[in-house]
Structure formats: C-alpha cells, structure tokens
Amino acid sequence: MDLDYLLVLLLGSVTAAATLLIATVGLAVVYGLMGVVNLAHGEFLMFGAYTTLTVTRMGVPFVLAILVGVIITSLFGAIVEVLLIKPMYGRLLDTMLATWGLSLVLVQAAVLQFGTVTPGVGLPQWSISIGDFEMSTYLLLMVPAAAVIVAAIYLLFTRTSYGVMARASIQDRQMASAVGIETSWINTITFALGAGLAGLAGGLLLPAVPATPDMGLLFVIKAFLIVVSAGPAALSGTAATGGILASTTSVTANIWGSALGDLMFFVATIAILRLFPLGISHKWRIRL
C-alpha cells in the first residue's frame, strides 16, 4: 500500500461523502428541520433528474438545465405541500401513507412519460491522474459543490429574515403566528426549498447516476438513516453523519468489496444510534 493508493482512498471517501450529502441535504430540511416524513423525497430527486435531462435535450446547456430543474422541482414541491402535506400537519402516519402513495404515482408516471430507457447525459470524460490511478474529475467537483450547498443553506437559515421566520414557524407555530408570521406560507416555502434541493441533487448527479424511474429508491433509504442519525442539528449533524457513513462505506468497499461496504453503512448507522440514541448532534451547541 503506497502513498498514491492512500490518497486515492482519501479522495474517494471525500467524494462519496459529498455525493451522499448532496442527495441528503433536501431531506435534512424537510424531515430533519420540518419533521415532515416525506417518503416521496427520492421521487423529487428523480423528478429533478428527468426535468434536467429533458431541458438538456432541448439544447439548453447542462448547468442552466440544472437550474431549471431546481426551479421546476421547487414549484412541484410547493404544489405537493399545499395539496397533500398541509392538510396533514401533525398526522405522522397519514403523511407517510400519502407521500408513499405519491411516490408510487410518480414512479409509474415517469415510466409512462419517459419509458424505462432514457438516453443519459453522460459524465464529462475528464480525469486526473494520481500515480497509477485515474479519477473522474466531475465526481471530484462534487466536493466543492456539496460545500457550497451546505454553506448556502446554513447562511440562509441563520442569517436571513426568512430563515429566522422559517425556524420560528417550525419550532412554535402558534407563537410565530402571534408575532405576525404567515407560518402556513413559510412552511410551503421551506418544503419547496427541500424539494428544490432534491431536484438539485437529481440534476448534479445525473451524469453519474442515469435517470431511471426508480432511482429515488437508491438514495432515500440511506438519506433517511443519515438524517435520523444526525439528530437535532439537522444540517451540521447530517454533514457529520453523512461524512462518517460514506467514508466508512467507501474505505470498506475499497479494501474488501462493495457488498461488505454496503453492509458497513448499516452497521455504522446502528453503532451511531446505539452510542447516540437521540442522534449524533444531541449535545451539540450548534442548533442547525
């Protein structure tokens, strides 16, 4: 085992963590922050991926197409919130059933609309060499992308008046209403933001994870586990658990094999929840 290999291992872990974080951060907002168990979250990601794909195929540059995907997925999220989630605030089981139903509808709608075989965007064929090893540059770019996304959300929720109102609406709805915050609309916006982040993930990861109707399933289970293990500090906790779980998986997969790597993800999740039953960030002083 030489230095090159260790560096590749390290970069691989960081890339895996960044990719997983991008796919999870929307859920950190919707479930971690708002407490809405949206089982259709993975399908929002799929929605974003197909939207980006469709727009790209219309000739729009890829980066712009991702932006369009984010906007359309956010709008779609807002509609879902108003029609489906809003009437069910506080009814956990009903929300789960309704959003699960929505996920089934969206998967089948995608099959009907796009068929099961859709041409992909393709990863840009850029790579960098580290000794004898080559790595895809696009995937490495996910690291700064994840950092920017997490920082932007953090600033949005801590430094803007919307962020303060959003957290107030979630923490104490009645009190927030009493001081004049339109909690109902703020919640719609926050949910739409979470949906938009899922759409962003679908678009950003599209070159590496081709759009398929059931692609949401690939991410949603791991995303939920990460946010649950994160605990009360939804964003920083998610970043921490996402990093730990993804790098554990990546290193194990590198050394022993992918099947064991996948297994280690779940073993590590159990270990975290055993050590921190209320989430890893339970005793942190940071609140987001």
Binding site: V8, A16, G115, P207, L217
Partner: protein, 443 residues
C-alpha cells in the same frame, strides 16, 4: 346491443335463440324506424349470433380457439423487458393467426400483468390455468419469477416457456427455456476476449445468484482458455458509488473486465469507468449489456467500444430477422430497439406452435413429446434447436461492439452454441422425473 351480442357465445343454445330473436326484432324495429346505418349494425349483430351458434354446434375440434397464457411485467421496474416480451408474444400470435392459426384454429391470449412482483406471478399462473384453462404458459423475466411459477406448472403439467437470458440450470419436464444461459454466453465471450485483450480478467457482478453463478462460469472458462481472474467484486443493487471498484480494478491491472451488473448499476458503472479514462487500456465485456437497451442509456462516449454477447441483437443479419423487425416496426415502431428477450418470446411461441402442429393436438403430454423431438425453428437470431434432454436451445451467440452512435455492430457470430452445461447435467428424456435447479457446484 353489442354487449348483448358478445354474451351469446357463453350461453346455452336455447338462450342464444331467445337473444337472437330479440336482436332480430330489435334490428327490424331499428331498421324500420331509422336510417340504413343502424340497419347494417343490426345486420352485423345477427350474423354475430349466427356465428356463435355455429361454434356451439361444432364443438372443440376445429372452430374453437386455442387459449395460451402470458404473464409479463407490464408495469413496475422490470417493464423495461416485460413490455417488449408481451409485444413479441402478441406479434407472434397475430402472425400465426394471419397464416391460418394452429391446427386450423385461431390462437387467443389470456394476458396478465405481474407488476414486477413474484407473488403476482404465482397468483396469475393459477388464475390463467384454472379460470382460462390455458394450454401453454409464457411467463417470467427474473429467475425468482420463474422459480415462483415452476411448482404451479408441475402440478398442472402444461408446457411452460421461459424466455430470458439467465444463469442456467433450470430443469424439469414442463419447463422450456428459449433464452441463452450464462455458460452458453460466457464460453464464447471469454474465448473471444482472451484472444483479443489478454489473459488477466477482472469480474464485476451483481450480488445475487445471476452474478455469483455467472462469476463461477467466468472462473471456469478462464481456466479453459488459460486465463486468470485477478480480482472480483460483487455489487449490491443499492450501490451508486463505483469509485472503490474502479480503484480496485486499477490496482489489479487486468486486461479486460467482465461487467455484468444490472439496470442503473450497469449504466452508472460504465459512465464512471469511462470517465476515469480506463477504457483506453482495459477492455470491457458483458453478457447482459444491451439486454435492456443500456446502449441508449449510457452516453455515446461511455458506450463506445463495449463488447456484449447475447443470443440476439436487433442488428443481426439473418433473413428471418428482417421480417421480424419489419413486422415489429409496423406494429410498434422502432423508437426503442428490440431486446433479446423479445426474440426469445417470438421463438418460444413459434416452437410451441410447431410442436402442437406436429402433435396434432394441444394435449400436454403430446406437445411436450413433440418439443422433445429435436424441433428447430428459423428465428430472428438464426436457426434454433430445442435440445430434447435439457429443454434449452442450441442457438447462435453474437459478439457485438458498441459504437459512438449508441448502436451495436456485430463483430463475430458463434454459430449453434450449445447450452453445454445444461445438456451435460439435465436429461429429461432419460429421467422425466428430474425437478431441479442445478448450480455449478453440482457439476
């Protein structure tokens, strides 16, 4: 009115007469009080009821249609294959009926949608056999769906056709397989790739029985053609990060990679493999790439140069294939290339029809005996031959290469490749009682 007329064939003759006379009266009244359009409608109704009373009179032998059953995944994750399997079956049946049917009788299909769930296969197999009394069943894509159906088939003893490439080894009296098996595809693929690239192989396979059994065949044929497997990785279906595999492949430095993950796993891996720039030095071959039109999902850059081996590709140059593709285009268009499973179903229906013609009856035992008579058929993928003992097909295996237009080009044809593992281990003529799913450990 149309509804009344449709009910006729199911009822007794007395009842038919009554309805017939009501219809006649109705027709007369309609004809009397309105224009010619309606009277012609009434006229067609009367001929309809006349036709059905003829059916009732003639009994089973000549007029009555033959009903076969089909269960494919028309919805859900597997319909990427199921829809084409179903289309191929309809096309084959229509083609038979246009050419005079089977034994002079028309063929009808009872169709069910398994929704990509194994439990639905069990349920619909029972329904089709008991309610619709189908004389043969065409069903299944995954090995688990086939295994769910087989016990029901054994109990009811009707011929069952399984049309998909699979890991091989299914063996019982009623089951007939028209797809290629792992050993059948792998033998020619490894032989070709060792000659082309060199003798160091890396295996990358899905983490369930198709992957592990195919992995066994890679090792087996590696030995036969003086090559070694320098590394392997089995990938769970939920993995989306292939950097670890790609690192391991680079560390092992193989001459070529056998990559047989399924669905999104495969396209995701190929994108990342290509983006890391590994294709220049390392060949990449697969037995299932293209079976679900993956060549369209991957980008042109990633798909360029990938080698696949299967029993059928839409581009193969066989006389019967042109006819098949034309029929398909007329019926469904060619937006989506035809996958190998569709050709497998087409062959299955035609082999069944040939067996029924040969037997002169739809009686189960006679049809199975006819299927065991060394039956051949000129299908879209050339001449196929049903092996009497193993119930698997001897058929061509094509080696193709993906180009940068998201299409395939045939580079070599291995004619009449035998399912040698199944032929060696499964002889249902000598021992009709075998009910097994052999795995290579049994060798």
């Amino acid at each position: 009115m149309a509804i009344l007329a449709n009910k006729n064939p199911n009822s007794g003759s007395k009842f038919t007469w009554k309805i017939g006379s009501i219809l006649l009266t109705l027709g007369l009244v309609l004809a009397a009080c309105s224009s010619g359009q309606e009277s012609s409608e009434a006229g067609s109704d009367t001929t309809g009821s006349k036709g059905s009373s003829e059916d009732n009179g003639n009994g089973e032998a000549s007029g009555e249609p033959i009903t076969i059953g089909s269960i494919f995944d028309l919805t859900g994750g597997l319909n990427i294959y199921g829809i084409q399997q179903d289309r191929a079956l309809q096309l084959a049946v229509n083609n038979l009926n246009d050419n005079g049917g089977v034994l002079g009788r028309t063929v009808e299909v009872s169709t069910a949608d398994a929704q990509s769930e194994d439990t639905k296969y069990t349920q619909f197999a029972n329904t089709l056999i008991q309610r619709d009394e189908v004389v043969a069943l065409f069903a299944g894509l995954t090995s688990s769906s086939r295994e769910a159906i087989r016990p029901i088939i054994r109990e009811n003893e009707i011929p069952y056709f399984y049309s998909s490439l699979y890991e091989g080894g299914a063996c019982d009296k009623q089951t007939f397989v028209t797809g290629a098996t792992a050993s059948q595809q792998m033998s020619v693929l490894i032989e070709w790739a060792v000659k082309e690239y060199g003798n160091k192989i890396y295996l990358m396979a899905p983490d369930y029985n198709f992957g592990t059994i195919s992995g066994h065949w890679v090792e087996f044929y590696a030995k036969e053609f003086d090559a070694t497997v320098v590394g392997q990785d089995f990938i769970p279906l939920t993995v989306t990060d292939y950097q670890p595999v790609i690192n391991k492949i680079q560390a092992a430095d193989p001459d070529f990679v056998v990559a047989i993950p399924v669905g999104a796993n495969q396209t995701g891996f190929l994108e990342q493999f290509s983006a890391a720039g590994l294709k220049e030095d390392i060949g990449i071959v697969s037995t299932n790439y293209g079976s679900g039109n993956q060549q369209i999902v991957v980008s042109p850059e990633a798909g360029d140069g990938i080698i696949a081996s299967q029993e059928y590709f839409m581009v193969v140059d066989e006389p019967a294939n042109k006819e098949f593709v034309d029929l398909w285009e007329d019926a469904y268009g060619l937006e989506e290339p035809i996958v190998s499973e569709a050709a497998d179903v087409w062959n299955a229906v035609n082999l069944w029809a040939a067996a029924v013609e040969l037997a002169g009856t739809t009686d189960n035992e006679a049809v199975i005996e006819a299927l065991e008579s060394g039956l051949t058929f000129s299908g879209p993928n050339g001449v196929v031959e049903m092996n009497p003992g193993s119930h698997h097909l001897t058929q061509n295996i094509y080696i193709v290469e993906g180009n940068d237009q998201q299409e395939f080009e045939v580079i070599e044809t291995f004619e009449a490749a035998e399912p040698s593992y199944e032929n060696g281990i499964c002889d249902l003529v000598a021992d009709p009682e075998i009910t097994e799913h052999f795995t290579p450990g049994d060798l």
